[in-house]
Point group: C2
Chain length 359, copies 2
């Protein structure tokens, strides 16, 4: 049990010495646009892959930081939102059905005793052995800024959940949902059907979600089904078994109030962290992974870095540059895995590529 109150089991640091459970050709660290396109390019080479991301959903920065904001510089797409870009890439890679492992960070990356396979471990206890690894980790793993409140250490696991996607635990409970974005509003509207009470808590009375959700929220507030509380949690109280009993709120006028609660679902702000990557014995320059522009390999054979995490002369942190990098890295990996030159084929004319695409 970590002491920062991050009780979500997918964020527990439970990496142990259990045997490797997944053997694969390729692991991609990061499910942002460049990581997703990496899977596409590997798929064209007939290389299956697993993708790991700290966020509980795909899409990385565009999905997390600007899902509704327009992007104008993706070639051939005059305008799309961050979320639309992710959805387009999701559709594009669907023929290759990469295995997704979300809501967990890669904590270890080391070479197996055979000097070839790369062993990875995640915060969710997943263990993988891969022949090559693609680090598409952007500015680092986006991890929730943990709540800071007195008493969090005394809570049993599961009493505070960060970015949950399943709400079965809400049944019959007095729930506080902390957050202001679409996910938090959606969670409040979902939980209201089964919880004993639902309080939506934020620093301000301002929520960001599609109009239909905001309308539904307003309706539930008017009928008293959802209570909106303005303030910040300063203290949590547990019973002798570590069960949540109440929280103390501080509002903007400096007033405190206590509120009964047995479950806290939190969508706090998310901030990027380079995390364990700094310890992987890869050459770094100013916290970026140094690669060469012929194959986007790092200082270690079989480990490639693409997108915002890498650096090379002329580097610009643009999504479209990451697409190119992922493409050349896929060719390099295909040659590394097969031990022979790989010729260029075009999706327009190659029956082999079209077969792989399921066309």
């Amino acid at each position: 049990m970590p002491t920062n109150g991050m009780a979500n089991p997918t964020n527990c640091n439970t990496l142990s010495a259990e045997p490797v459970s997944i053997h694969t050709d390729a692991v991609i660290i990061g499910a942002g646009p460049v990581g997703l396109f990496q899977a596409f390019q590997l798929g064209l080479h007939g290389i299956a892959c697993h993708i790991i991301d700290a966020l509980p959903y795909i899409g990385g920065q565009p999905a997390q930081l600007y899902p509704d904001k327009p992007i104008y510089d993706i070639p051939g797409i005059p305008c799309c939102t961050g979320l639309e870009l992710v959805q387009r890439l999701e559709q594009q890679i669907s023929p290759f059905a990469p295995a997704l492992h979300l809501g967990q960070q890669v904590t270890t990356l080391e070479r197996a005793a055979d000097k070839h396979r790369l062993l990875l471990g995640t915060t969710a206890g997943l263990r993988l052995a891969a022949r090559c690894v693609f680090i598409a980790a952007g500015v680092g793993a986006f991890v929730p800024r943990p709540l800071k409140a007195e008493g969090l250490d005394s809570l049993a696991p599961g009493q505070v959940q960060y970015h949950p996607s399943d709400f079965a635990c809400a049944s019959g409970q007095h729930i506080i949902i902390q957050g202001s974005d679409t996910s938090a509003v959606q969670a409040a509207l979902t939980c209201v059907q089964q919880a004993a009470s639902v309080t939506l808590l934020h620093r301000r009375d301002s929520f960001t979600a599609p109009p239909a959700l905001l309308d539904a929220l307003q309706q539930q507030r008017m009928t008293g089904q959802i209570h909106v509380a303005i303030g910040q949690i300063t203290r949590v109280q547990a019973d002798a078994h570590g069960k949540l009993r109440a929280v103390t709120l501080l509002d903007s006028n400096g007033q405190t109030q206590q509120m009964d609660a047995n479950l806290l679902l939190a969508w706090p702000g998310i901030s990027p962290r380079l995390g364990a990557l700094a310890n992987w014995e890869l050459r770094l320059d100013n916290k970026q992974l140094v690669v060469n522009t012929a194959d986007f390999q790092t200082s270690q054979a079989g480990i490639y870095a693409v997108g915002d995490i890498n650096t090379y002369p002329g580097k610009r942190k643009l999504i479209l540059c990451g697409f190119h990098e992922a493409t050349l890295a896929a060719f390099a990996a295909a040659e590394y895995l097969s031990g022979q030159p790989v010729a260029l084929q075009y999706t327009t004319s190659s029956t082999q590529l079209q077969k792989r695409l399921g066309i």
Copy 2:
């Protein structure tokens, strides 16, 4: 008047010593996808440009070689045809309204006496002075394979026209249209309204065009408005003034026939040619322009090469790689032109970029 029968004035080799008529920051040679995206990236930096292409329309290889074929590997676009990709790029660059100079090849590229400006001349007699030049010429200029037939030299200008876009000259004439693609079929259907007679000539009785056009062609054939002839032109006959009078056809059975005609419009096959580029004192490796991957500059300052025409370690001739190359080349040129570092901005968040985009 060239001796290969290429009487289209835009293909005449009339470059002379007339003064420079266009002064600009940037010239892009090639209006394929990468050349078009080069204009977009320059536009984001506030750099206006002129684009020159040998073809009479934008789009390069995708527009010329596979307009109706699907492309699957443009990032974020699961499937689009060559023509759709070009249309998407055309829309994307429209805020920057690059000046287009089509149907002409760049024949000369040399440095002005001041050692800074780059002077270009085209087959249409255009003279430009640019501060930087982007060579996005793909596999070379797509130029019509000229007709080979006895007597072509004796024709006056305008009697044979390659890839014409204007058919006013057809009025009242006996016209032979040589070709089998959409443009040729469309030309036959357009000319039939004003010509004295229209013959559509091809090696085989097989035409490639959208179904609606093929239906219309069939209808005109059945009513005798358009005559389809199968064979190849072996000889043309002119009167004393060089006016076309008749052509001699050879059919697949070895039979010849003579046919009256006073105008020959030709859509022959198109083949790429590196052309004059080989003489521009730029470092070449196996007919590709050598660039470095930090700025995609050639061996000469201010001259960049992007897309299929360039080479560097790891190079793969893919459109999406050209997009990246054009992007870094634009940054490099922006720094070269301004003499100072240019910071990265994002179209999602930069009001300056959005202003340039007209948003």
